[in-house]
């Protein structure tokens, strides 16, 4: 029976323990001259055929490896969700409202430069793709959203995005003014102090 063949066992163990692919001569250095290493390797290779692991020859050297069709098992995906940065959200919004748009145009609209990583993140997320080049001097890359973007945000088309007027109506457009309003409101409180003085008067 194959399992009890001592030569094959020796070759199998030697090749398994080695951290390098081994030639027949190198294996023989461990298992001894009396062993027909080539024959043992051929038999082993046949024996492992169709198994989860296999013995293969690369050039003159042999090694063990896992069966190539099982490679997908050995990589396990772990999802890790992360919040998009402020810059990325703004960049995505600009692309969505103005597409196709170049990087320079995005920066002009944002009023701030964007770092290289920002667009990469949006592309990694699958929401933005390069959409050709603008036919102007320098032929800059232009960017647009993907179908994945629409799916993620539950949109049928980009036309579903609320317009500026809608945003204004929803109070989403003027965060600065409303902040000012808050300050005036707290300002009135101090007025009442004055009133007390008046009443005293």
């Amino acid at each position: 029976m194959i399992e009890t063949d001592p030569d094959m066992r020796a070759v199998e163990a030697t090749l398994f323990a080695s951290d390098q692919p081994m030639t027949v001569e190198q294996i023989r250095g461990y298992v001894g001259d009396s062993v027909d290493v080539s024959a043992a390797l051929t038999q082993l290779a046949a024996h492992y055929q169709g198994r989860g692991i296999e013995i293969v020859q690369r050039g003159k050297a042999w090694h063990f490896q896992t069966a190539p069709d099982l490679a997908h098992l050995l990589r396990r995906e772990r999802e890790e969700s992360r919040k998009l940065s402020r810059a990325a959200v703004e960049t995505l919004a600009i692309i969505a409202y103005h597409e196709p748009v170049s990087r320079a145009e995005i920066e002009a609209i944002r009023g701030v430069q964007i770092s290289k990583g920002t667009l990469d993140v949006l592309m990694e997320a699958g929401w933005v793709r390069p959409a050709g080049r603008r036919e102007v001097p320098g032929r800059p890359l232009i960017y647009a959203t993907t179908p994945g973007f629409l799916t993620h945000f539950g949109l049928n088309s980009r036309k579903d995005l609320p317009g500026i007027a809608d945003l204004k109506a929803a109070g989403l457009l003027d965060p600065i003014d409303s902040a000012m309003g808050d300050m005036l409101f707290t300002g009135e409180e101090s007025d009442s102090e004055l009133e007390i003085n008046e009443n005293n008067a």
């Binding site: 323990a17 050995l74 945003l167 007025d191």
Partner: protein, 264 residues
């Protein structure tokens, strides 16, 4: 005896045989540092009796120990104090065992001897177990793991989070931020100095007695306007006093400012 035991089997064996040859009376090369304390020395001596430790003669062992210690001292080698403490204790044990039994001594010398024997048995058991453990098929010495494992990988797939509200809010804020700023001053209700002059002049005509300035203010609630009216009316009062139309009087600082039509 020298150094720690090495776990090369051969060396361990050699070491063991040297130990078993032990510190016989003819052994002059005594290295006291080779022993890990008196108990270790006692165990090595016990093993020279070549009996199961349970059959050990404690009296013989005590004798061996005392002889050994004497030899070492004769060679003027320095002995750690604990070896001497043990020697004294064993000398006491020996005499107690040899003397006629005294039932009042507790613990009895037999019990002490038994305790010593038990301790030696336990140490010996652990020493042997340790050696047997080391002799097992150990990874990296007797059995080998795979030399070049592919290794399993965990690939981190990042899922980016952003909701719709965040998206449109961001756009709104960009717009707000980048819109050319236009500053409009809010209209406030005020009472001009002219209005105040007119109002105070008209009202003072009817007032005969001293009247607080607050009485000249419009009675409506708007506090902003009221404040403006107070300021304007005050200036109006000063103006009227200058023109010689009214008298002003204030009893003390922050006391109500009183107005009266100048007596003519």
């Amino acid at each position: 005896m020298n150094g720690p035991m090495l776990f090369d089997e051969e060396e361990a064996l050699r070491d063991e045989s040297r130990r078993d040859a032990g510190p016989g009376p003819n052994v002059l090369t005594i290295d006291i540092d080779g022993w890990e304390g008196p108990l270790d020395l006692l165990l090595a001596l016990a093993r020279t009796q070549k009996v199961d430790l349970r059959q050990l003669s404690i009296l013989a062992l005590v004798e061996q120990y005392l002889v050994f210690i004497d030899e070492v001292r004769a060679l003027k080698l320095e002995l750690a104090a604990d070896y001497l403490v043990m020697a004294a204790w064993l000398a006491y044990l020996k005499s107690a065992l040899l003397l006629p039994k005294d039932p009042t001594i507790d613990p009895s010398p037999e019990e002490l001897a038994l305790r010593l024997q038990l301790r030696l048995e336990r140490l010996n058991a652990m020493r042997e177990s340790g050696a047997r453990l080391m002799a097992r098929d150990r990874i990296g010495r007797d059995v080998f793991l795979r030399g070049a494992p592919e290794k399993l990988r965990v690939v981190k797939a990042r899922a980016w989070e952003c909701d719709y509200f965040e998206l449109i809010t961001a756009y709104g804020q960009i717009n707000a931020r980048t819109q050319p700023a236009m500053h409009i001053v809010k209209k406030r209700q005020v009472m001009t100095l002219e209005q105040a002059l007119e109002r105070v002049s008209a009202m003072i005509g009817r007032a005969i007695d001293w009247t607080a300035i607050s009485a000249f203010l419009p009675p409506m609630a708007d506090p902003a306007l009221r404040k403006s009216a107070l300021a304007s009316s005050f200036v109006a009062a000063l103006e009227l006093a200058k023109r010689g139309v009214v008298d002003l009087q204030q009893e003390s600082t922050f006391a109500p400012l009183m107005l009266r039509k100048k007596a003519t």
